[in-house]
Amino acid sequence: MDQLTDHAQQQFMKLLGRYSEDSYFYLVRNYLGVVTTPFHKPQLTARLCQFFSQKTHQDRMLELLDELDLVILSLLAVTGPLPSEVVMDLLKGSYSYGTILRRVANLQERLVLMTDEGRLVFNPLLAEELALRCSLRPLFGEHAQQVSSAPYCSTEFVRAYLSLVAKESKVAFREEYLRVFPSFEPPRLQQLFNALTQVLMQNLVLTGDKKVSIDYDRAGMLLELDDHQLVCLLLCSQMSTFRGESSFAFCSDLLSYLDALMQIDTASLKLLIRSLSLKHGIAYDSEVLTHLSTWGVITLDGVWKVADIQTGQQTNALLIDSDQTISYLGSRPKDDILYRFTFIEVLDRQKRYRLTKESFLWGLDSGLSYQEIERYLQDNSSTAMHSLLLKQLGMLNERYQAITVYDALLLSCDERTAHVVQNLPTLAEHRYKSISPTLFLMRRDTEEIWRQILASAGLLAGATRSYEKIEVQKQKEALSLSLLLQQALRCRRCTTAKVEGDTVRPMIDESLQREIESSSFSQAQKQDLLHRFHAKMILSSSQIVAQVINTTIEAGGFDYQGKVSLARQAVGRKDVALQLQLTDQELVVQALEVAYTVQREALLKAAVMPTMEVKILPISKIFLIRLVRFHVS
């Protein structure tokens, strides 16, 4: 713990050491009092560090945090360090630009936030305590009391979908499918079907156009993922800004936060997406919201309700009924094969598949063996349930095995050569079958290899090819599925995000205010102290000393000269902005120049933040000017 504190103190001093002279002395004078020359800067820094390491001061700082402070801090907890301009940009939808600008600057003045290479970070001395106070609620609104039961694109859904594709040999959506997936609303199901088809085609899990076939090896790899990982992969597959691992990390975080929030409004969701995009260094993709909806992660019901994405469900045994339906509650293990030899009937709370002759034959055709199916049914259901069924399947299998169609080449040889072909171990995997002592069915797809083996064995295979070579055109994959899967497998739902924060009631120490008011200081000194007190920069009596840190910071109404003077003070300063109250609007600007008309009327030339559009404003038209320190770094 001490080591941690040491590290934090060093970090604090390092950050402070990089502050500009102006900001540095502003802070030193506020917290340590009058600075007399000569001074020793490292000593001052150490004293400041000591001041902020004191528990009473830290507690005081934490007690003074209010709702808006926590919004900003929580945002940084989500995104990690950000430039203050980005924080303002992210929060401008919920608060006025000036409000956020002032508050960010104030958090810096209070040394709750510090600046590290232009990015806002938590004061290292308080980082742990601040992190504990951060939560999602102030940023992303009220959260639901219970999870949504809305369906989403789960591994169970993908299995059911593949079973349906196997049955239909088509991928086009049909109205009848609504009966298979009754918990989905019609337009959403169609959207989901289309999107899933696209992703599976893209990854060559599905191939073909009119008659679609399924690559079960690839499908199996995909179904190795848990639901969280699968949805990450599906989201990534659709992102126009896909950037490998970062995108997966983004999606995984996004799902984790949504899972914690349970419900969210559109503006907050966009804020979350933007925040996480920044965190993971990927470009903001406005379509992510649509993709989330497509995959069923969120459903609009007044606000967006978040689906309860399962990461590890309890698997349940199969129920095989006399009408040859096989059903189960919940989900099945990752390597489940039921979908490969049955056709889906209903995917709902209870999933129901039907075993038919066609589905069984499909299973065998697609590479499952009868023994696998038999073992699967034996292992996953009681004997009473599967015995009759297995008997029927056994008979069907017997019939199925009666005919085998090989896509092969016929190798005919004399007896001597046949002996070699039959017994050469390296040829075994290229030989389908010996159909007579001198006739062999050889694999077509490995022809080049077994020809070489024959040649190197000293056997001269005939050169004449009497068949038409079939070119298998492999569709080019957009991205390697295995690469995507590797990345998806790293996605884990992080559940550390705290949703509800503690109720915030900033505690103002009025005794300090009384002490300032009752002091014998000049009016200007008192005013300055009170201003800093209200800005929550006064944490202890030791700070109440006779000095003025801030000169006039506000001028308004008929104080024309005051306003001009403030504007002139701000010109050219990068750490200071002017908050201007006009009759119909409020602007935050950086003053560029104060000029005069022929009639000696003062004009302020300023860049309006954050667009930095340059405007010229007659100072007489400005109702109130306030000097805002927005960079304390």
Binding site: R179, S322, D323, V346, R349, Q350, L388, M395
Partner: protein, 554 residues
């Protein structure tokens, strides 16, 4: 969020009942009040919420809040919001359209709840031609159109709360005996009592018509008689064939206080209507020429019946549909074991005769001993070598026939018969040549469509009395034939993939007895008969029956 209860409520409005759960019986008792039983295989029974089931619940006083409360109480997981919305939405339609008598006896008055519904009704062509606007909130319709208007309204989602009392027919005192005429003790079983109660309710508006679904052999006739006893009125029973007519007549005479002079037969052979008359669908739909009228349909319309019982109601022929629609003022009950019709007109039948009021899973009655425990076997045999090539060259239909009439089935029948030396056996088939061949080979009596009724009666009687242990029968024995002692059925061929035929044939051996029943279906291996057999078995599979497959070679 999960509670230890037996029900899973799905989003597609089906309710899955885990029959092995300790509370499944109590749950089922609630479900039958507002759901329809869809299938009842061994482990998980499926019920469904439908407009009709919810309106039936509403009409019997089981309000929407009670439905929702029961669903929530029994559901293992939270009930989907969409289901709760559906229940509330559908149930709220009950009572929005009401039918009652008007000042003019030629018309009924149809009240609607709102101007919007009225406008909607007027825009429907099928309805507007039957309705005349009476005032802002009501229409008039001719009394004969009552059934048609109700049918059309149900189709557009407005159930009619029919407050027109059913017409009480002429009184005929009927009581059930506690001891049959044959001297056996007799009482109505609890589920039979429940079935008639479900149909008649308090005899108020909305009660007194509907369909009762009970397994073959569970005593639907007794339910019919119990209803007759409750109503004590002139009754017409319509059934499938003359043998069934005679069975009904015998049963009524045996178990009620009616004497033979009060029970009449109306068939092709005899037209003798009395207080209680039993007729066939065939005679009602008979007409001398294709375009002409149906002379005997008047029996239905002008017989002053207080109660009409449609036996095997799923067989209701199309011409009777229309007449049934016009007979909405009469107490009526449909009895069946198999809801399925291969023409898919189940809904029409039930909206005309009345909605399903009672259904009970087959395996439940089997467990309680009210129907026999039955073991189903499918025996697969090869086609003889010499038929393999002709089979391969035949059309699909010819293939089916060749497979069905596989001559090797004869040997199988012989073996099966020898397996059951003490049982009463029915050999049932589709093709007469095949059946005759079997009958000739073993010297067995045969009943087909061409067997005179008297001869049929004689053979059935001999079978019942034990004089004849094995009967060869064609599809004439599929329905409504009660042969209480039959315990083995050997099906050598069937009507393609007919699910109800398979169930009805099994039903011939389901009368409870002190031994188990065996149903054998002999099928040619590697032929399209296998596929048809698989389809035939679907209904029974949904009732929890499994077929043990045996392959017989050589």
């Amino acid at each position: 969020m999960m509670q230890d209860t037996p029900l899973i409520v799905q989003s597609d409005k089906t309710l899955l009942l885990d029959v092995h759960h300790k509370d499944s019986e109590a749950c089922r008792a609630d479900l039958v009040r507002f759901c329809e039983l869809i299938k009842s295989p061994e482990h998980m029974h499926t019920y469904a919420l439908s407009p009709i089931s919810l309106w039936n619940a509403a009409s019997s006083g089981f309000d929407v809040d009670s439905v929702v409360e029961r669903l929530k109480a029994w559901s293992r997981f939270p009930v989907p919001e969409s289901i709760l919305f559906y229940v509330k939405d559908i149930a709220s339609r009950w009572g929005k359209v009401r039918l009652s008598e008007s000042d003019d006896p030629r018309y009924y008055r149809l009240f609607v709840d709102s101007q919007r519904i009225k406008t909607e009704l007027m825009q429907r062509k099928a309805l507007s031609k039957l309705l005349v606007v009476k005032d802002e909130h009501s229409f008039l319709l001719e009394t004969y159109a009552r059934g048609e208007v109700k049918l059309q309204l149900i189709k557009i989602g407005y159930p009619v709360e029919d407050r027109v009392p059913l017409v009480k027919g002429p009184d005929v005192p009927i009581a059930l005996r506690s001891e049959t005429l044959g001297g056996k003790p007799f009482s109505v079983r609890p589920y039979q009592q429940m079935a008639s109660d479900a149909l008649l309710g308090d005899l108020g508006p909305g009660c007194g018509f509907g369909t009762i679904v009970l397994p073959c052999g569970s005593g639907k006739t007794v339910v019919g008689m119990h209803i007759m006893q409750r109503l004590c009125t002139r009754t017409l029973v319509v059934t499938t064939n003359v043998a069934a007519v005679h069975q009904w007549m015998q049963e009524i005479q045996d178990k009620t206080t009616l004497d033979s002079s009060q029970i009449g037969e109306y068939t092709g052979e005899r037209k003798d209507p009395r207080d209680v008359t039993v007729c066939t669908y065939q005679v009602l739909t008979y007409r001398p020429d294709k375009e002409g009228p149906f002379p005997h349909l008047e029996l239905l319309t002008k017989g002053r019946w207080g109660l009409i019982i449609y036996d095997e109601v799923h067989m209701l022929p199309a011409p009777v549909f229309k007449v049934t629609a016009e007979l909405q003022a009469v107490y009526r009950v449909g009895l069946t074991a198999t809801l399925v019709r291969e023409d898919g007109r189940e809904d029409e039948v039930f909206s005309l005769v009345g909605p399903k009021r009672f259904d009970v899973p087959w395996n439940e009655l089997q467990q309680q001993g009210f129907i026999a425990e039955a073991y189903c076997h499918e025996i697969r045999i090869d086609l003889p070598k010499e038929l393999e090539i002709p089979y391969a060259l035949a059309t699909k239909r010819e293939k089916y026939r060749m497979a069905s009439e596989n001559p090797l089935k004869l040997e199988v029948v012989k073996d099966l018969v020898s397996r059951h030396p003490d049982d009463f056996i029915l050999i049932i088939g589709q093709y007469l040549d095949q059946l005759k061949q079997i009958a000739d080979a073993f010297g067995l009596p045969i009943i087909t469509g061409s067997t005179p009724n008297a001869k049929r009666e004689e053979l059935y009687k001999a079978f019942k009395e034990g004089d004849c242990r094995i009967l060869v029968v064609s599809k004439v024995a599929n329905f409504a034939i009660d042969l209480p002692d039959a315990s083995v059925a050997i099906q050598v061929s069937g009507t393609f993939g007919s699910r109800s035929e398979e169930a009805q044939r099994l039903g011939r051996i389901l009368r409870p007895k002190n031994r188990s029943s065996f149903f054998y279906s002999v099928v040619t291996r590697y032929s399209n008969e296998e596929e048809f057999a698989s389809n035939r078995q679907k209904f029974l599979a949904e009732q929890g029956y499994s077929y043990e497959i045996e392959v017989w070679t050589n």
